[in-house]
Symmetry: C2
């Protein structure tokens, strides 16, 4: 078989603010691949089916010399993120042609993933639950779902009757946190940035929901608090408002900071003294650290609940790798209405 | 015996910024007391020997309707704080005339303290270590020392070779933290706000010391970090600098926020996203919560080390209750050079 184009999305330039399609990232079809002959060196050749567009990817768009919890993207090289692919050829006995794999894939139609890594970002053989599309395996049944599950199980110390506030409550992490909290008997306050997202917070069972762009967060928390728990996906002034309405000994699960990824301006915090005064504990965590402890349980419990409809999920599908840059930018701007997934190819 | 004047320091007005002697607090000698006949109702009559002037007292100078971890001072009534007194008369069998007591005392020459409370602020019979002045029992051997000891034992999870940064390193809390950290084999960076205080940080064994008013905190931490531990007495921009120089999985012990007590302006924080990215844990705590667990051990260990000179302390003594307001203001401004104690009376 002759070489065919291997479409890719390349990191082109470090953004100063939001990523700009065609400038900070570019779609490229100049490279070709001979699918039958590409050397594997003991690896596997994968055809990409779906790719995840995630908020955290913005922190990889930085100068290479700056440290961070995820490696920087390399200018001129493809972006990469978690995805699901189909194995076309394999020189690794753990995989065979026809298998489906979950793991970090290049934003390319074909790639040879690194199968040596483990944990939440490790490549793993996928045994899809009947009725659950592949796209869900990068969302509620993938890393974002794991983030929610691990963080909740590890830090929430949830008690029925507690009140929890979940910012980013409609996202793939937040919406699963809402459902885990309801399962544990908590009162759940959830915020999101559009009426459609607020509706999804309601749909998954949040007791109090609001659009933080049109309603004052402080007012809602003052009325519905105090909070025994805060799940923080956004940081910034929302974190300050949560501190102001925290109960003594409240637990704060620090999971993300989407309000601060795309700006170097800081945020004015008025309530830092309340961290000690109310004896708050703030737990910062990353999903990968907790994977060894909770991953098996997650895969036993969550995909089934999603397939049966007991737990709900929401997706925002973008069809075609060529539109991936727009999807990624929209995630940074909060324009997606559900877990953002790029459908790269059909099987 | 005829009634004699009972000098008192009264809370007079809520300050908007720093407390102002003669305005927000006033010295009053208009009230008298008959020491032999004052009804005790089962309590004890105490002559005040020393009183503690502490940073946290500023949070009690607030509108009565505002919640807080310490009750608000009442306008027209005396201030109160931890102190040491001598029992003159007693109707409580746990105390007899001639005993020395440690506990919350009114800022008055004579008072009848509430002996029903427990924990770090409870009244307790004092058995002074030979060689240790009473004034130390409101400092390194009192609540501030307990704060350092309890917080360090409970949260530091200290490992020899770790690097800890202690802000407010010359205060009665900070200087004991420095010494506990050195005892555990850590590298200690300590900051303070005057050359004399910086010298005291050195004297108690800190490896790296600096005056945060003349040296950039970020520069020092960048050079001497990363931090596995941060003991925070000040919050504000110092907390932001510590986050910026924290190692992954660093522990932050949130003990105080002196930089923020006297202003309602917030502080610009640039690094809140690093709480999750570096998996930091921030432990807010109050000494009273941990007293049941650590108090006995503290009194067994620390007064002896202070009396023998193994652990050092520093005091800033103000003689005369009439100068108490100035002492309290100076503590808020960081003008004291050692634990601020008001010597109210000789025995």
């Amino acid at each position: 078989m002759a070489p065919i184009p291997n479409a890719r999305l390349l990191f082109n330039e470090i953004p100063t603010n939001f990523p700009e399609p065609g400038k900070t990232t570019v779609y490229d079809t100049s490279k070709t691949i001979d699918v039958e002959k590409e050397p594997l060196n003991g690896g596997i050749l994968v055809k990409t089916l779906v790719l995840s567009a995630d908020p955290y990817m913005r922190v990889q768009m930085r100068e290479a010399h700056i440290d961070g919890y995820m490696p920087p993207f390399i200018v001129g090289q493809p972006l990469y993120s978690l995805g699901v692919g189909k194995v076309l050829r394999s020189e690794n006995e753990a995989y065979k042609a026809g298998d489906y794999v979950y793991g970090v894939l290049e934003w390319a139609l074909y790639s040879i993933p690194n199968t040596d890594t483990g944990g939440a970002f490790g490549t793993r053989l996928l045994k899809p639950e009947p009725g659950l599309p592949y796209s869900v395996y990068v969302g509620a049944a993938g890393m974002p779902g794991q983030t929610a599950y691990y963080g909740w199980k590890e830090f929430a110390n949830a008690k029925a009757g507690d009140t929890v506030f979940v910012s980013g409550g409609a996202g793939p992490v937040g919406s699963l946190v809402v459902q885990l909290a309801k399962e544990d008997g908590l009162k759940v306050i959830a915020s999101a940035g559009s009426e459609a997202k607020v509706q999804f917070c309601k749909d998954v069972g949040a007791d109090v929901t609001f659009n933080y762009k049109t309603v004052n967060t402080l007012d809602v928390l003052k009325k519905e608090g105090p909070l025994q728990l805060y799940w923080d996906n956004v940081a910034g002034s929302t974190l300050d408002a949560a501190i102001e309405n925290a109960d003594n000994h409240a637990r704060f699960i620090e999971c993300g900071a989407i309000s601060q990824y795309n700006s170097k301006d800081g945020v004015n915090m008025k309530n830092l003294d309340q961290i000690y005064a109310r004896r708050l504990t703030l737990y910062g965590f990353l999903v990968a650290d907790l994977a060894p402890k909770w991953q098996d349980e997650f895969y036993q419990v969550i995909p089934k609940k999603l397939a049966s409809g007991e737990f709900k999920y929401s997706e925002d599908l973008t069809r075609g790798l060529e539109k991936g840059c727009e999807a990624l930018r929209d995630v940074q701007m909060g324009k997606n209405t559900g877990k953002s997934v790029i459908i790269v190819a059909e099987e």
